[in-house]
Amino acid sequence: MNWALSIFYYIVTVLVVLVYGLLLYAFIAKTMARVQGRIGIPIYQPFLDIIQTYGRRTAVTHGYMFDLGPVFRLTGGLGTLAFIPVIYGSEIFGNFHFAGDLLLVMYFIFFGQLGMALGAGESGHPYAPMGIARGLAQMTAFEVPFALAVIAVFMQYETASITEIVAAQQGSIYNWTLFTNPFAVLAAMFAFLGMSMYPPFDLVTAPNEIPIGPPTEYHSAYLSLLQTNRAIFAGAKLVLFMNLFFGGATNLPIMVLKTWAIYMIPVLIGVAFPRFKVENSIRFFLGVPTLVGIIAVLYMQYWGTV
């Protein structure tokens, strides 16, 4: 393995995912605006935003953990991406998936969140811990159906390697986990609603309650790092879902199409629903979605492997 080459490929992947992520963000914002009867932002607005925040000339810091928060956050995004093969069979978009399996990715997702939470905590703004507390609480709940779904997927393919999971879904659309293991996908998509922070699960940044939430005190260069991460992290997560449940992608257009479609699910649900209270959200995820997840596991255990 040529290290320089894989690092170069990785940088390419990051840039592609970044651009794609920003575009996707703009596209979704525009979609929502149209649903609500507004014109919405131009498609290049996120690029302008990110350049603008990088270009700021002053900043205020609350301490070294505050500085490190966005660094952790972006590292989390970059790392999550690094351990997921974006495009099946592609050397350029294969990343460092050989360093670890699905479990590594699932746990690395927390890395950025944790660091960000700490950085925001040091800002001393009460909205930050409030948002984090809500976010963590909700996360514990939607993690249950998600974990069960992943376990069901594992049972189906008897491996925790993402590449092999994608490989097993190749050939026909009916090989997708979506069709071979529908309960797992259903549970996972419930969890995805929670992860995406659109209504009814937008508790963390909840406008009109704790506006902006954890990043309240972040601005200028800090904010730009966060914006960068948002694009990359969203991309990474979408790719993960695509790989696990929707047959992965063998080329870039398929990847774009599939991830966009996946992303539209929470968006469309989001525009139609008001916000849950935190405790209701927790109870929701521990209810039906968890049940579906358990059914998925039991289904795999008793009927899946026949």
Binding site: R57, A59, D67, D101, L118, A137, E143, A160, Q301
Partner: protein
């Protein structure tokens, strides 16, 4: 000549002679009279000591024939080894007892006479081989006791004394009647002759005769419920008299029982039952007792009951060769400890348990008190421990589960009230002061001497077991360090460190496999924590270092144990020393007691299991566990439960949060990171021995697996709801140990490696976090997290410690913790525990809640104004923290240096399923390259960091003050109040808070309540009315008779 001078008969002659002479001498010179009395008592001691010495050297028993006629036609006395042993003890106690109460004795010649005659009566009861002669000595002893009890002639003593007189005369009346009836049937009064011709004792008439004799002796041994008078006497008599009543007179009756026991073959089950009933009932009632003197009474009565039971059962199963060890051991413990405690009771003013706090003004006495209590409670290294061990083993060999169960139940209750008493003595404040100046050392020195004798006896008894030389090393090391406990803190710390390091260097190379790994974990872990011990500058920590060393060394002996006894001994030593260390905390009295009680209960489960194993295999080796497992699952379940309690397993965890919270802050680190691993080690001892059977234990293992995960979840949720920082971490420990339990139950290679890995992990991060928290608590003086905040500015290194710690706990890559999670899920999936894996995910997600709460509410957010000038933690705490961090980082970078040895250690028991490709670890299901992940993350981390640095270079970054935030469109007036910390997860409580209801606590409180209620109901017998007591005696003998006839 020497033989004649030292003839045991001289005891009686001298006593009678002194009895006549003393009033004459006293009239002239009271002082000289006293000397005569002491000389006589000393002579008794010399005679018994001399014969004890020669008899133990193999000399034949001394037979004393009176009137020149051979028995059975004349009275004969015997002075064998058993007699010599008992009388040496009694006479020694009498000598010191007389010295103890000399102030009272010297007033009246009659008191001195009575005292000497009293002791002579006891000697006679022990020596005589004639039933009628026994009656005479009984009466001599009884009449002297009657008078001595009421020596002070105060109202209470007179009441108690009169009840004693009624009971005593009734008993001796029965004895006389029974003796005569026996004589009528057999024509002999000689006990040996009776034993030879016991077939002549027949029919209901013979049974009645025997019953009368037995009943008389048993009544004097104060069986429940016919013992109210005895309790009153113990409570009311002068301390010196009560001491000798409890140990001397009772010894004589016990010996009398021992003598006539061969006549009573068909009575044995009933005798054993009555003894055991007394043991259990008195210990139940002891729970309710608040007067120390009466408590001692209950304890005496209970111990006597246990001795009677042991005597009867061992005789019943023809295990008489164990009588010296078991009954002798129980006897000598009871003897020395009870005498010492009664003597202490006489020194202390006041009649509340808390009044014993007076002893604290004289450290040697509080230590003596502790030793006496420990000896009574049957904990090592004292004689009772060995006696009980042997008793349980012997009984179990004959499948006597019921007896063993009740013996252990009674012993547990005993532990409860004895150590509650000790707790009160070390925690409460008495308004009275200890005054021992007037009596010089003669009131307290004997107590200390008896403690020394207890230790010596314990050592002697230990030598009759097959134990390694080092088995009692923890005790001696502790004692040795106790001698220098008065020196400076730093000096003691260095001495302790040297001892532990030397011990580690000696021990670790001698271990192998898993034991070696545990050795490498526990001993260096302890050393690191001990380095922190001087962080509270200027605070003396009396007792800390001896106990710490004892704890660490007992952990070491635990690892090195090869026999079940060695294991159990080390386990108990560890329990005792850790209990004492916990109790050093300021408000730790109750938590430490709860900890002890649960630990002892767990230890008894282990003991029970060992006994079962021994009964099945006849082997004392730990390897017998595996052989026994073939027959039954019970040993496995019991052992698991025992270790589970030690780990704070779900349902039996109630001791843990408070014990962790209330002990010294740095010791909490020890409890959590090191001591809890003893439970894990226990699991592995069982597991590795039973590898062959584990496949057939699917149901049990599945249950254990679920329990572990529920424990993990419950621990995490409860931690998230805690406001007290130490409670939070304690619950976190429960949760983390839950994973270890589960991975152990998975019982495949990955599972066990995961369990070991998690254990190492837990040791490192809990040591780290608890020490960091100790620093915080030392600086901020509150345990409530919402009263802290923003401390990152003041304590940056502590912050980093906690940060590294929580990342490790959470399992987020790239640190060490992820390896644990990865192995955990791999093992779960490999085993096919899919739903369990889901639960594990949930539990580890919930862990994020408390971890964030922990770090945020302490270090982040808004600082309280009173904490503005808080300093970083002391260096003593930072050094071990930094070491822990370095270790965590090293293992994170190179996981293989940890996993490889673990895998190798597990491989002999579970074939390895790992494949290594350099740093890449491949299991059946997945792969993980820890080294690569660490590097990727490291590099990736640099990217945004450099980016931020570059960007910030060209712009003006202004560092603002703490309160520079905009909240609700204005600068808050008191920003400290905006620290979001209290009830952090209120909504979580609303959502699933029902899971945190303290059901377990409520359940165990109920159990405790129930125990107290049983005690309260049982003691309804003790109305204080002498006639009721007399009635109970008749009732007791009647029921005994019916029981014997029916059985």
């Amino acid at each position: 000549m020497v033989t004649e001078l030292l003839s045991p008969l001289n005891i009686i002659i001298i006593a009678l002679g002194a009895g006549f002479l003393l009033p004459l001498i006293h009239a002239r010179s009271p002082r000289f009279a006293g000397q005569v009395m002491f000389a006589s008592l000393l002579y008794f001691v010399i005679i018994s000591a001399y014969h004890f010495y020669t008899l133990i050297g193999g000399a034949p028993a001394v037979e004393i024939i009176t009137a020149g006629i051979q028995p059975p036609f004349a009275i004969n006395l015997r002075f064998g080894l058993a007699e010599a042993f008992v009388l040496l003890a009694v006479n020694t106690a009498a000598l010191f007892g007389a010295r103890y109460m000399f102030d009272e004795l010297r007033e009246h010649a009659s008191a001195m006479i009575l005292f000497i005659v009293w002791i002579m009566g006891i000697n006679g009861m022990v020596m005589t081989r004639d039933l009628f002669n026994l009656f005479i000595f009984v009466e001599i002893t009884a009449v002297s006791s009657f008078v001595l009890v009421a020596m002070r002639a105060n109202s209470i003593a007179l009441s108690a004394g009169f009840k004693y007189v009624i009971a005593g005369t009734m008993a001796s009346g029965f004895l006389l009647l029974g003796t005569m009836l026996l004589y009528y049937q057999t024509g002999t009064l000689n006990i040996d002759d009776l034993i030879i011709h016991q077939e002549m004792i027949t029919g209901p008439f013979g049974t009645a005769a025997l019953m009368l004799v037995l009943g008389a002796i048993l009544v004097e041994l104060k069986p429940f419920p016919a013992n109210g008078w005895g309790l009153d006497v113990y409570q009311a008599a002068p301390a010196g008299i009560a001491a000798l009543l409890s140990v001397g007179v009772s010894a004589a009756y016990l010996f009398a029982l021992y003598k006539i026991l061969p006549l009573l073959t068909s009575f044995l089950p009933v005798i054993a039952a009555t003894g055991l009933l007394t043991f259990v009932a008195s210990n139940f009632i002891g729970l309710r007792q608040s007067d120390p003197r009466r408590l001692l009474g209950y304890s005496s009565v209970g111990q006597l009951g246990l001795m009677v039971t042991a005597l009867a059962l061992l005789t019943k199963f023809s295990l008489t060769e164990y009588i010296p060890l078991v009954v002798g051991g129980l006897f000598i413990s009871h003897f020395l400890a009870k005498a010492g405690l009664f003597w202490l009771a006489g020194i202390i003013k006041g009649s509340e348990l808390g009044d014993w706090s007076q002893l604290r003004s004289k450290p040697v006495l509080i230590i003596a008190f502790l030793f006496l209590i420990t000896a009574l409670a049957g904990l090592p290294p004292f004689p009772t421990f060995w006696a009980k061990w042997q008793l349980v083993m012997s009984l179990m060999e004959y499948q006597q589960h019921g007896w063993v169960f009740f013996i252990l139940l009674g012993s547990l209750l005993e532990v409860v009230y004895l150590f509650r008493w000790f707790g009160k003595a070390v925690s409460s404040q008495s308004d009275k002061a200890l005054d021992i100046s007037s009596s010089g050392n003669r009131q307290w020195l004997p107590v200390v001497l008896f403690v020394g004798l207890l230790l010596a006896c314990g050592q002697v008894m230990a030598s009759s077991f097959d134990l390694p030389v080092m088995a009692l090393l923890p005790v001696y090391a502790g004692l040795l360090l106790m001698l220098i406990d008065g020196l400076g803190e730093r000096l003691k710390q260095i001495a302790s460190l040297l001892v532990i390091i030397a011990y580690s260097v000696y021990l670790i190379p001698s271990l192998d496999g898993l034991n070696w790994i545990f050795g490498l974990m526990l001993l260096p872990g302890s050393i690191l924590i001990l380095i922190a011990s001087t962080y509270q500058q200027g605070t003396a920590r009396p007792g800390f270092y001896p106990l710490f060393v004892m704890l660490v060394l007992s952990l070491g002996t635990l690892l090195a144990a090869e026999t079940m006894l060695g294991f159990f001994l080390a386990w108990e030593l560890m329990t005792v020393s850790s209990y004492l260390l916990v109790s050093l905390g300021k408000k730790a009295t109750r938590p430490s007691l709860v900890y002890l009680v649960f630990s002892i209960a767990g230890a008894f489960l282990i003991l029970f299991a060992f006994a079962l194993i021994y009964a099945q295999t006849g082997s004392m080796q730990l390897s017998a566990i595996g052989q026994a497992g073939i027959v039954s699952n019970w040993p496995f379940i019991l052992l698991l439960s025992g270790f589970f309690i030690k780990m704070g397993g779900l349902g039996v965890h109630v001791w843990l949060p408070d014990a962790y919270a209330e002990c010294d802050d740095d010791f909490t680190a020890m409890m959590s990171s090191v001591v809890s691993k003893a439970g894990v080690f226990g699991l592995f001892v069982v597991g590795t021995q039973m590898t062959a059977q584990l496949n057939d234990m699917d149901t049990i293992l599945t249950v254990v697996g679920w329990v572990g995960l529920i424990m993990a979840l419950a621990g995490a949720i409860m931690a998230a709801m805690s406001e007290d920082i130490k409670h939070l971490l304690a619950y976190s420990s429960i949760g983390q140990l839950g994973y270890i339990v589960t991975t152990f139950a998975i019982a495949n290679h990955t599972g066990w490696v995961a369990a070991m890995y998690l254990a190492v992990n837990h040791l490192l991060y809990k040591g780290l976090i608890f020490l960091a928290i100790a620093g915080v608590l030392y600086r901020v003086k509150t345990r409530y997290m919402y009263q802290m905040g923003g401390l990152i500015k003041n304590m940056p290194i502590s912050f980093i410690s906690v940060l590294i710690g929580i990342i490790t706990i959470s399992g987020v890559p790239p640190l060490l913790g992820f390896g644990g999670k990865w192995l955990l899920y791999n093992a779960l999936l490999e085993r096919g525990w899919y739903l369990q894996a889901g639960l594990a995910f949930f539990a580890s997600a919930v862990a994020f809640l408390y971890l964030f709460k922990l770090i945020h509410t302490i270090f982040l957010g808004q600082r309280k104004s009173e904490h503005e000038h808080v300093k970083e933690a002391p260096l003593a705490l930072l050094i071990p923290q930094i070491t822990f961090m370095v270790l965590i980082m090293a293992f994170s970078m190179f996981p293989n240096i940890l996993i490889q040895p673990l895998s190798d250690a597990v491989a002999p028991f579970m074939a390895s399923t790992f494949t290594w490709e350099g740093y890449l670890l491949i299991t059946e299901n997945g792969y993980w390259n820890g080294f690569l992940v660490m590097n990727i993350v490291g590099v990736l981390f640099m990217a945004p960091a450099i980016l931020l640095w570059l960007v910030s270079k060209k712009m003006k970054v202004q560092k603002v003050k703490q309160f520079n935030i905009v909240f609700a469109a204005e600068r808050p007036f008191t920003p400290a109040t905006t620290h979001y910390a209290y009830n952090f997860y209120a909504f979580y409580d609303k959502a699933i808070g029902f899971l945190t209801r303290p059901d377990a606590t409520r359940f165990w409180n109920g159990v405790s309540e129930w125990g107290h209620t049983v005690g309260a109901s049982l003691r309804r017998f003790y109305t204080g009315n002498g006639q009721t007591y007399a009635g109970l005696i008749l009732f007791y003998i009647g029921v005994m008779y019916l029981a014997v006839r029916t059985l």
